[in-house]
């Protein structure tokens, strides 16, 4: 019992955010319920992003009804590789990634050959709601296939690593690189077994990581150090994330991005209830940072100033980019 109280005190001294605090002070306070569809529906997110001039994987086409499945050959004709996704899917289910064509058939990234009919069946499954939350009717999204930058080769296993930045009222507060593992079967979801690696907000250098609530320093599959990797175009990621506040209207979000070999940072999706393990990956508490941002907003409000995304990124980098100074050699 005494031990638990000690743990409690130590955690709260470090400013570690718990679920109750995240829900009460951030999700409920900053995220208006009626805006949720913008993040729950990937098509809506993408449309908003395009309208706001934010980079996303190019949209090839949308299929909304069974009848529109006939349009599929037309959509696919110009593209050799593409991704098929349910608009409201969760946890990466129902996603097919086609890497190549093979004698009139399609070849997935894992090398499986599937026919056009199978793809059509998959699409009608998505439409009927097989992969959507609660089994609602869904829409199908066909988009550009992201080719991960080779920089991640050594520290990821299959799949596409992504970068999550938590953004409070447009201010990035914490970032994490999510690397798929064999256990997560190529998915970048932490509770499915992917690893999270903290990222220094100022420099884009990776820090230590977390895997299943533990701290780690090496990737379990490739045994490479995860620390000290320089993410390219880091300021681009930060600006992209900061701009998502204007795009969604949601004040507390997790922005998931990928680094494409050719197109650079792209937004994949937004999350209105970002997880808390990012704190373990960064070895830092969220509460301290969110309080600093809230204080900044209150101060600016008094003066009647509103900052641009660039200014917000600069503030966050100066304020939270602490690790670079502590470990200058990394």
């Amino acid at each position: 019992m005494l031990n638990l109280i000690k743990t409690w005190k130590a955690l709260s001294a470090q400013g570690i955010m718990g679920i109750n605090r995240r829900n009460a002070d951030y999700v409920l306070k900053y995220n208006k319920r009626h805006l949720y569809p913008v993040v729950d529906d990937k098509i809506l997110t993408k449309e908003r992003a395009i309208a706001a001039g934010i980079d996303v994987p190019e949209l090839y086409g949308i299929i909304e009804t069974e009848k529109e499945v006939d349009k599929l050959p037309g959509i696919l004709a110009k593209h050799k590789d593409f991704v098929i996704k349910p608009a409201q899917g969760a946890g990466g289910d129902g996603i097919i990634v086609i890497a190549d064509r093979y004698e009139g058939r399609y070849k997935t990234v894992s090398g499986k050959i599937i026919s056009h009919e199978e793809i059509e069946h998959h699409i009608s499954s998505i439409l009927s709601g097989l992969y959507s939350l609660g089994g609602h009717r869904d829409r199908v999204l066909i988009e550009y296939r992201v080719t991960p930058d080779p920089i991640f080769k050594g520290i990821s296993y299959e799949g596409v690593p992504d970068i999550r930045i938590i953004v409070l009222m447009g201010y990035p507060v914490m970032a994490m690189l999510r690397l798929p593992t064999r256990q997560s079967s190529g998915k970048a979801n932490l509770h499915q077994g992917a690893i999270g690696v903290g990222v220094d907000l100022a420099t884009g250098l990776t820090l230590k990581g977390t895997w299943l609530n533990n701290k780690i320093t090496k990737h379990p599959d490739t045994a490479q150090e995860v620390e000290g990797v320089q993410l390219p175009d880091w300021d681009g990621f930060m600006k992209l994330a900061a701009g998502c506040y204007e795009l969604s209207g949601l004040g507390y979000i997790g922005v998931d991005m990928v680094l494409d070999q050719e197109k650079g940072p792209l937004i994949l999706e937004l999350n209105a209830r970002p997880g808390l393990n990012i704190q373990i990956a960064n070895d830092a508490g969220l509460t301290k940072r969110t309080h600093a941002v809230e204080a900044r907003i209150a101060e600016l409000k008094k003066k009647g100033i509103e900052e641009t995304p660039e200014e917000r990124v600069r503030f966050a980098q100066e304020m939270f980019g602490h690790t670079a100074r502590q470990t200058p050699s990394a």
Binding site: Q14, N20, A24, S128, K215
Partner: protein, 509 residues
Amino acid sequence: MRSTNTHLKFMVALLVSLGLAITAYQIFVIGIPVTEDATDNLWTVDAKVEFQAQSGKPVKVNMFVPPMTDNYVSLNESFISNNYGVSVQRDNGNRSLTWSARRAKGKQTLYYRLVLSKRYGGEAPKAKGSIYRESLPLEGPEKIAAEALLSPIRQHSADVETFISETIRRVNRPGDDNVALLLAGDNSVEKKVQVIDLLLSVAHIPMERVRTIKLVEINSQEPELWLRSFNGEKWLYFHPESGQQGLPADRLIWWLGEGELVSIEGGKKPSVTFSLNSNELNAIRVAKMSDEKTDASFLDYSLYGLPLSTQQTYKIMIMIPIGVLVILVLRNLIGIQTLGTFTPVLIALAFRETQVGFGIILFTVITALGLSLRSYLEHLKLQMLPRLSIVLTFVVVLIAIISLFSHKLGLERGLAIALFPMVILTMTIERLSITWEERGGAQTFKIAVGTAIAASLAHLLMTIPELVYFVFTFPGVLLVLVGFMLAMGRYRGYRLTELFRFKAMLKDS
């Protein structure tokens, strides 16, 4: 934000204090027992009146009966008497009963039966009495003896109360010549009381005789004589021989004054024998019975005013908030993951029909089978509605099979599954399989175990008879619960499981 916080705090304080106030009122003012097991003695007092009738003459028997103004309340009164007319009168704080008949012959036996219990509801009427009276006439040696006795009594007393007890003490002291003179050789209680009365009258202190019956289970007892005097606020009771003060709680006042218990016209040799016995009765039932007898209808607007069958339903329904509270605490304070918020409560309700142990086994088996069927259906790529229908049908068939087998094996438990648990089962399977798809098997297992724990705990709490009684009798408690839930809505602290989840962060530092 600040104003909502103040608002919230105000609401919490308001609800909690309102709930507590209502409950306290019910317990302390109305006097509803706190537990159902609190039993009360229900006393049945029989007074048997026997006399010899004189043939040819009309008979009229007068007997005092308890005035019922003290701590007891009569639940039922009956007069068992063939051919006699009965009437009840009140006078001077007494109540008396008159049996009358035109003619009677030989030995007559009449019964008076009173069923009584401690008073619930309403307050005893306010005591009133006189605090002054004229002295009784006194002459010659008696006057001198009385004055000789009174002067030390005056010296040794401060007020009416001490004066009376001092008087009683002196009258009962053996070997006092003045007392002996006044008693004139008669050492009976009646005579002593007469002397005490005389002495008190000289001091202008009014005094009244009180005849009491002791509520104990013995078959014959004589009414015991007590004295009482009014001090301006309340009646002070004294035992005329021992000087003991205050009437014990088990005494029932039968009548006041000097009159005989029974008086008779047209008969002779009247005698009265008392017999008492007590039944233990559920306290709330006593309260209900006395409620019908008195004006204070405190139970009219409680849930006890509902028809019995409806009460049964409400006894289950009113416990649902308790179950929800369990889930709330488990989820937000402890951090156990459950399947949705209210599914565990529904499962807990389903356990009512299946019992916990068997319910858990049943739920586990059927859910496991249902989930495996669903994962098989997954391969067939069916749409949601047909898939759900198949699962439901499968569950029905499974339950039928289980019932059949357990019946054949002589386990009647298996037949306990009604419609309600079946619907809950199907729902649980569907929700679990969605979780499986979204969050993987390990997570689903964790959630399923969490749900089972939460449901069992909620069920156990919701079926504690004392708690059911308490909440049902004092629904004001629910307001306190709402207050707590409101406060929980703003709880920002860590969940217990988070202390372990983030433990890794404390290792280096």
